[in-house]
Amino acid sequence: MYCLWCSEPIIQQLTWQNFFFPDIKKLCVYCDSLLEKIDGDRCHKCSRQCDQAICFDCQRWEKEKERDTLVFNYSIFQYNIFMQELIAKWKYRGDVELGNIFRDAVRKGFTPTFAAMKKHAIAVPIPLSKDREKERGFNQAKILADFLPIKSELVLHRMEGEKQSKKSRKERIQSINPFTITKSINKPVILVDDIYTTGTTLRHAGKVLKENGCPEVFGFTLIRG
């Protein structure tokens, strides 16, 4: 096996455990150490690593009840420089293979948090607009949703718009809702996306779902930006 990032061969010590249950590593030890997980205290609402129970940004969201459609968001990794490079190559350069790096971490991160609702919840990946999906060839949120041990459904549709990553916080929060729904769901929904930055995208999607009969909306994102 070779490291997906630095292409160096990965040498694993053979043990009885990985002889019977092969555990295929996608990154070498060094590259793996560059991925920083969110550990320790985190904001209960948005997963940001901080000492407060609810961070400042989320307190601001809580003041606007009708726009705050998300129960909470759970993220796995921090957005460090290495992660930025990794995501840039994955999303913008289009190296689909790099998505597999996150397979294990996504499963392991998902199970303890969402164990209670595993049976009846449905994962909904945040869609890309048609043009962008054509340009990129794949939807990174869908790849992540497919890693999850629950059923995933594409029920949202996104209208064309500017890239979120090119806007400021204020512009992002005040932007109009780009989502429409193609099928209503009356079960709890776990929205899946790659990055939670201000939370606007997830809340826009949550709003559309809630207006169409969904009882509760959660967020599951790979990275807390």
């Binding site: 070779y2 190559k89 350069r93 190296d95 293979e97």
Partner: protein
Amino acid sequence: MQQMKALHLDTIALLLSGKLLLRKEIPLDDRQFHTLLNHRLITPVPSIVRERFTWKCQRCGNRHRFLFSSLDKASIYCRKCIEMGKVIKSECLYIWSGAIPTWKKYEAACSWNGELTLAQAKAAERIVQTIQKRESTLLIWAVCGAGKTEMLFPGMEEALRYGMRICIATPRTDVVLELKPRIKKAFSTVPIDALYGGSKVKLATAQVVICTTHQLLRFQHAFDLIIIDEIDAFPYHKDPSLAFAAKRAKKLNSTTIYLTATPRLKFRLQMATKQLSYTFVPIRFHGYPLPIPKLKLCRSLRKNLQYSTPPPALLHWIQQRENKGRQLLIFLPTVEITRKFEKSLTTFFLKHGIIIMPSALSCVHAQDEDRNWKIKQFREKEIQVLLTTTILERGVTFPAVDVAVLDAGHEVFDEAALVQIAGRAGRSFDDPTGEIIFFHDGKTIAMIKAVEMIKEMNKQGGF
């Protein structure tokens, strides 16, 4: 009307000839593109071909199975050269098959009026001969600070006299940025393009192209003379796709000139067995020998690196230097260590009066966005002490520096790197010597070989 169309076609030919491009790299709209395709002026070539048990990317020559991936069967893509734009099996690469533009002949293009030293002139003469006889390869082995760039000028002038297209390729962006103004000054009448990751010009149309070796991936049969600087540098010597690209970028009947100060074993063997013709320039342009590095054992080095504390021997050396007016260039093995040391060394040096202000010490590494600015500041002596990773090991010239390497036993400091680092010292007429010290916690073969090589080169230079 007809004339205008012909004119337009000329510019397109200039843009596309000698290149191997993806559709999205070709700056034409669909209608124009399809017209040219129908007139067979642009020819599609397969981008990824099947080979036994594997694939081969036609742009970078990658054959490793694990460096190909796909979403589905039709969309196999090459992961090796994805930074240059994704090559997908279902999409072709395009080459220009129309009339090839002719390049201008310059009678005397070189406006440089400096003088070459005897050793330089000898090597320059050899380059001119190689070009006149259209020999295929020549290696110039010149010690650090021999003035390699100037040696190229007569050869380039000769090539331009024949109307040749010239490429100067080097593995590093910093070197491209340093070379460009120098070449521009020496050949002020010739159009010159510089290509590197993030350059404004994407498709070079000039007769002389200065580029990073990665940019050669976009060329095919383009150059009559290709000069590859620092062939032993990272990433060129480790990445076979760059040699593949360099081979493809030249025309069938062309000349390749390699430049190096520290040829690797492979080239030394080829030279010894006379498979590769070469010329050796053992004397620096100012006529002084290369300074020889000193090795200094530091028993506490591991701990010093772990806690980012400067080793006592470093301070001792700095205070004992013969010329304290020189700037200090300190090499460290990794980015992380460099960053950590920046803080601790600032306070330490302030305490001992080696620097007066905190701003007189800075660090540069590959991920540093301001590094060009900092290097400029160092050159202008605004910064007294510069900490660096191996990115400054070659291709950069500072007038008067003393060089220290902390943890010279680290694997990033191989023989070639250490020789190059030693070559940073004593590079100007006004201050032709300098001190180099390797701090280590156990000699490595690389260190010993580096010192041996420097001594050997000095011996050949008659010192």
